[in-house]
Amino acid sequence: MAPLRFISLFVLAGVVACTGTESASPPKNAGGTLVISTPGDPDVLIPALMSSIQAGQITELVYDHLADIGDSLTIVGDRGFRPALADQWSWGADSLSIAFHIHPNARWHDGNPVRANDVKFTHAAYTDSALGSPARALLGNIDSVTVRDSSTAVFWYAKRSAQQFYDAAYTMLIMPEHVWKGTPFSEWRPSEIGKKPVGSGRFRFQRWTPKTAVEIVADTGNYRGAPKLSRVIWSISPDFNTAVTRFLSGEADIFEALRPEHMAEVAKNPALRVATFTSVDYLFAAFNLRDQTNKARPHPIFGSRDLRRALTMAVDRAAIVKSVYDTLAKPALGPMVRAFATTDGAQAQIPFDLAGAQAKLDSLGWRDGNGDGIRERNGRPLRFSLLVPGSSKARVQMAVLIQEQLRQAGARVEVEQVEFPTYAERTRKRTFDMVMGGWHTQASPGGARQSWGTAGVRAASGSNYPSYESAAFDASMDSALMELDFAKKKALFARAYDTIIQDAPAIWLAEPKAAIGYHKRLRTAPMRADAWWSHLADWWIPENERIPRDNAGPAAAVPAARPDSQKTP
């Protein structure tokens, strides 16, 4: 592997949940069936097009990245990355290119060898506008991909950046050119080919019965070694309660979205375990900074920074988080999560101070002149709505608590609970006063530039729905993302975060933990914050703890031995 060109490397905070003594040495005999209970169907099984969590899990197990991100989620340079489809790589002298060498034994599940052309083809697919990959926006720094020889693909970059290795090695899952050849990009989504994926990962696709189940089985001759589990099945129950019950009753081995109310039930069952760990999600109640009827004008209430700060002061975030999540969340710090190494857990916040908030509102001219409990200024009452998706119980509960806390400050909040498509439509069109929002961030803190930066307000594709604009925030974020020295980088991020926290475009509410319930017969591997399934191929079930379903199915046979020439990296 070529020496690193970056002066400093940094590691995101330790976010790997180790599940205690159960990660013991592997068994002699592989086998067993893992059943995951989930409330959602995958959207598509084409890596370049998928956006649902279920599709992400399945495609990441069936296909390979060029290199796997380490458990510490290092994203600067190549430190921490492990070889996957590429067994080695080398940097260009000017750091503007990286050559990836494909593992000589890598094979597609149909038996064809994986070639450098597949890498070039994959990049072409991800960046083609007719295909419309959600990941296209993340690949802007890659100028082109060329093929040096049948085993070597070279990525060429427009400029040096801290995450250019991550962009190439981890943003894309490599797809087979020979399978897709002849199918125009615009026809991929409805294509039958996409419903029977052919990958190179340690699991191969078996079947997908929409709204019912998806099954993958061990690729016993895989160049990276056969997985220890024979098969993995996503058992789909569109109703959330049914999906939980499937897990609690023992029909499934894993449920990945346990809520606080399930914890007591899980604790009562000695066969079940819970793994909790930091996630990469944060939730907030955002103020719309623009007038809904005329976006060129500031919002008649929330256009005032001082007013937003006063309302933020009136909300006891710690109490809300405790009440809704108990120990399964922490108060959010800002537009970032604690999993990022660049996040300072002691980042200064606007403190909860109801008396201070009331005094501030008084000083801003918002007073309750008629004694109805609602403050007014120039005849306008301090009354607004809070949009919340009814599908999220936690957000609805937090909205109700915010409503009550702001009532004590003299504001009347109307909680608008709507179904998710309506919520999405109104959020996108910015037709709300306040909105209960949330972001599932990437492994990089750079996502905040998209969600809270000025470009996200002005661009047609922008996702800065509250329309927060701050040149100071933008500048600090840009500098932080380009900076290669970790200490300076962290300081620049802290400055950016301080700017936005003090401007209060949102009340930063909660940073939920991931809570995964699993059966005790499973021997798990470390679970990564952004993808608990990343080491699923190394999970196993001791032979003496297997149940009938472990020995059923087409792949229940003992995995075949791999040819001697195949070695795991």
Binding site: I236, R428, A459, A552, G553, A556
Partner: protein, 310 residues
């Protein structure tokens, strides 16, 4: 005519609802507005509504129900896999609810005014007033978790089914059918029982019943042979009404029990704003209701010579 009317109404209503098929991934920062616009263009959703309707009507005229955005398959194929499951569930529930409802009504009328009659009357009132989804969740908890005798959901065991022999597969299907069918049957039977009891009580003062009593027939024989036959006519009308009721109930029951039928398909399609699939499901549902009413009319005519002769 009915299909055209239903298709038009459902097309307009679903397009009036906020959101579109590509709004689900709002909180994925990678799914940009630009990408959503591209997808809308790709599927023709950026065109004026009248143009979209014209295109859809032209498709429908060729018996083409369109393309499902959420399943990435033709709507016809999606419905073809869901419809048999719903027909099976509804068929079992229809037969079970009428058999059980009539039996309960006979018991009540035979012991009219007794504690049993009052108990069954109260129970049927409670059950027929109970929301379908709530009863379904209770049944789910009771029989899959507290007393785990039935599987939680689905039409078959997604893990074991393929490795079973023929007999095992049949048993597996029946086990999965049992709880949703039981739930739907119990709820519908409560209404049938109340209706049938009232119908039986109506015919009891009739002259032919009095004649039967004078002939020395037992109360049981009178009920079974004379009262029930005549009190069944209004029940046949109820079959026509039960079709839409069962179809509506199946929407909730199928969702709770993850039963892959029309109801589950429709609920998922509405949530994901899969316009063609919503309209297709509504059209098929309306055809089912129409056919159900037709069957009820034919049965009524068969059972009552006065109708045949009219």
């Amino acid at each position: 005519m009915i299909v055209a009317f239903v298709a038009t109404i459902s097309f307009v209503l679903i397009h009036l609802a906020p959101g579109d098929p590509f709004s689900a991934a709002l909180e994925n920062p990678n799914v940009t507005e630009e990408l959503r616009d591209d997808l809308r263009r790709q599927y023709g959703l950026d065109r004026p509504l009248t143009e979209q309707f014209g295109r859809y009507a032209a498709q429908l005229a060729h018996a083409d129900l369109g393309w499902s955005f959420s399943h990435e398959r033709p709507v016809r194929a999606v419905l073809a896999s869901a419809l048999p499951n719903t027909l099976l569930l509804m068929g079992v529930a229809l037969f079970g609810s009428f058999a059980l409802g009539i039996l309960v009504a006979l018991v009540q009328v035979a012991r009219r005014g007794s504690v049993i009659d009052r108990l069954l009357d109260g129970l049927s009132l409670v059950l027929s007033s109970m929301p379908d989804f709530w009863f379904a969740i209770l049944a789910l908890l009771a029989f899959t978790y507290w007393l785990p005798i039935f599987p939680v959901g689905g039409a078959v065991d997604a893990v074991m089914h393929d490795s079973m022999g023929f007999g095992g597969r049949v048993v597996d299907r029946l086990r999965h059918l049992a709880l949703p069918a039981f739930t739907l049957t119990i709820l519908a039977a409560a209404g049938v029982a109340r209706f049938q009891r009232a119908a039986l009580i109506d015919v009891l003062p009739a002259d032919y019943i009095r004649t039967a009593r004078l002939k020395g027939l037992t109360e049981g024989a009178i009920l079974r042979r004379h009262a029930l036959r005549n009190a069944l006519l209004p029940i046949i009308s109820l079959i026509g009404l039960a079709f839409p009721a069962l179809l509506t109930g199946a929407v909730f029951i199928e969702k709770v029990f993850a039963w892959p039928g029309m109801g589950l398909t429709l609920v998922s399609a509405i949530g994901s704003r899969d316009y063609p699939l919503v309209i297709g499901s509504v059209i098929v549902g309306s055809i089912m209701v129409t056919v159900g009413s037709l069957i009820a009319d034919l049965l009524y005519a068969y059972a009552d010579p006065r109708i045949r002769g009219a």
